[in-house]
Every structure is written in structure tokens, then in C-alpha cells.
Symmetry: C2
Subunit: 237 residues, 2 copies
Amino acid sequence: MSGTSEKRFLARYRAEAFPRPSVAVDLVILTIVDCELRVLLVERKEHPFRGEWALPGGFLRVGAKRGDFGEDLDAAAERELREETGLSSGVYLEQLYTFGKANRDPRTRVLSVAHYALVRPDLVPLVRPGGDVGEVAWHEARRPPRLAFDHREILQTALARIRGKIDYTDIAFELVPPTFTIQELRAVHEVVKGAHQDPGNFRKRFERMVEDGLIERAPGKRLTASKPARVYRFRRE
Amino acid sequence: MSGTSEKRFLARYRAEAFPRPSVAVDLVILTIVDCELRVLLVERKEHPFRGEWALPGGFLRVGAKRGDFGEDLDAAAERELREETGLSSGVYLEQLYTFGKANRDPRTRVLSVAHYALVRPDLVPLVRPGGDVGEVAWHEARRPPRLAFDHREILQTALARIRGKIDYTDIAFELVPPTFTIQELRAVHEVVKGAHQDPGNFRKRFERMVEDGLIERAPGKRLTASKPARVYRFRRE
DNA sequence: CCAAAAGTGTTATTTATACACCCATGT
DNA sequence: ACATGGGTGTATAAATAACACTTTTGG
């Protein structure tokens, strides 16, 4: 398969012949706290956009030496997530879109391969902003402050994505604790869609998921302001 | 907004400090001919994978000089599409996914920002493979030949994408001529989903789209092997 | 007792699925 | 005349939506 002429070609290949873009991996890290969608933002310590809020992210590591090509793209996203939150597992992470307007970064040509992450509310207290950065905080995802670069557009794209996926995928379960009540799951749908969900009708959808084996009863009850509610858990296959 | 300290920072910024990946824009160009999903492939003239089939594509153009940052990512995709097919309008083009395994290209680190395009069957005869390349041909998308790089995975991803989108978007209309019969649109659904669609039931869905103003009657009839069929057209808003 | 939220039920409308059948046309 | 495929109808099941109601708890 790999003939000698191909080997010779590769040995002679000059990778530096053409200019290349930098590639950033930016993260839209979302959670729900107090029935509000929140996004994790960092304050920029350096130019450009110094002092403004931005999505956490970093550059894709590309090996410098021959034979070392660096890290996989999805590994870079996981590394960034770990660096920014301290969380290394139990977080849903998915590639979102690649943003590539030529002048989106004033420094040089930078492509942003944006990803989004969904952090369960029970993990939020464990989030430990990574070492070197300055201010890090959760903000209202729907009313973010002024954002650096095209990060506002990236955020909007992420919100549109989860809104579109919540009805036919399992992502809602990434935004509730390991055990949850019907109302808690309904609250997730309401927050993500930004629309009221009828409790009775939602219950029917919920019960269908139980029948289908997607959800199962969990022991115990959840104490609320009134009548305690039954708790369930998502059955990961 | 852009203070003098920021201007100084940008003036001093050394873009070449860290190694960068090459960024390719690869295209999954699909059409339907004779009730079969087809993908446009090119034969590689150079190493690596010389002589094997591959998705058409090329490198993102990044400006070399300061102040010239090159072309937008979506402009690059359109340019590639034009170069490979000669078609400059009337073709649906959408970003698919960015593939970034570190060793997906044996030459050097190359990210592939894959896009997919849908070419209406009436435009297929107008396709003029661009200048310099060698063999170019339509292949069965479901049974492609051996493909270079990770292009098989990219193709599969594109097929999965259109399968998932055909029921709740307008992409089916990108795979029929400007005017079409109910059966022609049904054939598109059957080919994309790979499953039989009941003619009577599909007609009901179709009629609902007519009521909703999404589709309208077009003058004339389509001659078939038997009774001539009514033709319709998609109403672009 | 009472407010609040959990949990249940009713009905109408729309949509999906399976399938039987009529009708116009070219050969 | 007849096979072919266009065009139509019917019955059932299931999903969606609007909304009224009962029950169980904490205060």
C-alpha cells in the first residue's frame, strides 16, 4: 500500500510551503442553575479585547517535530474543558461548528472550532477554574455581557443547537442531577426552549419514556415546597 | 475601543510563535441520478493515496502578508465547489463537521473542515470538472470505492446528516428539478432514507405542504410511462 | 385549614400507518 | 383491453394540545 515512491514523497514534503491559520478550540460551557441557563465566561487578561468577557478556549496543539502531529481535535476540546473547569468526566461534550471569517481575530488568521459542553447542576460546585486565568464566572446565557471576537454568535449557535436537539435526543438528561423528578426535567425543557410546558402533557411524554425503558424509578423521594415527588434516573444503555 | 496599548500589542504580535495545522476544505457533493444517491469523487494524482479516489477539496487560503488574512471559510467552500463542478449558484452548501485526528494525513497536520453540497439532477449535465485535476466521476454514495484519508468517514457523516435532516428541513427540494411531481419528491425521500415510502401516505404529507404554502402547483404535466402527473414547484420565501 | 405543587383524567385535533381501490393513459 | 402508475379514500392507532380535576404534603 505504501510504496517506496510514496515514502520518498513524504520524506521530501515541505509542510511549511503555504501559510497556515491558527486553530482555536473554544467552548460554550452551559448549565442550568435556579431555572436559568448559564454559560461559563472568562475575562480576558491580554489584548485583544482585554478586560472583556470571552468563551474559554485555547489553541490546538500541533506537534513541531516531524512525526509528532500533536493532539486530536476532540482531545484538545476535552483538555480545554478539563483545564477550565477541573471536570474530567461526566460532562457532555460535542463539536458545534467551525467559525472561519478571515478577520474574526485581529491578531492573525484564527479558525475557531467551537464545541459545547453541558454540565449537570450537581457538578457545578465542583468546578474549579484552571490555574492561570483571571476572572471566571457563570453568566445568564440569554443575556450575556459584551463578548470578545465573534463569541456572541458562537453562543447563539450553541443555544440554537440545544433547542433543536432537546426533543429528539437525550441531552436534557445532561442538565439534571443523576436522579431527578418529572418537574425537574420539565424545567430543563422550559428553560432550553424558553416556553411553558404543560405539566400534564409533559408527564405523558415522561411516562412513555419510562415504558420505553429510557428512564426508571429510583428509590427515595424529593422533598419540595409541598407534596414530595418521586425521583427517577436515566438508564444509560 | 481599540486603545493605543492594544494597537502596540497587535503591531508586535508574532503569529509564527506556535506551529499551526494546515486546514483543508473537503466537499461531499451529492446528487440523485436514476433513483440513486451519487457522490462526486476525484482520483488523486499525487501522493499520498496516489491513484485512489478522494473527496474533492483544497486548502484554505490564508494570507501571507500582514493585514491580509485570506478568504472566509465559507467562501473557500464555495470556491472549491465552483472549481470542482463549475457551478456557482443554485447549489445547496452547508458545513458538515471538522475532522481533526492528528494523523489523518501522513504528510503533516491537516484539519479537514468538511462541507456537503446538494446538486439538483437537472444541473448534473452542466458539471464541468475543474481544470487541473485528473479523473472525476460520480459514484454510488452508499457503495463507494476505497477512499483516501478518512474520507469514508466523512462521507458516512454526510449521509447520516441528510438522513436526519430530510424530515424537518427543506433539503429534499435541493435534490429535485425546479418543477417536480409528487412521486419524484417521494423518490428522493426513499433514496435518502433507504426505505420505502407509502405513495398514499406520502401524498398526504405533500398535500399538507401545499396547504401550508410551501409548495405550489406549476403549469404543465410530466409525461410518464402511464398517466401524466401534475407538477409542482417549491415556493422559496 | 389552606396554599402549593404532585399527580390523574377527559376530550378534541392532528399525524402516522397500513391498505384497498378507482382512473386515465400509452402501448 | 389492459397493465402501469397516478390519484383517492378509509380505518385504526398514536401523538399533541388544552384544560379540569383530585391528592398529598408543609406550614
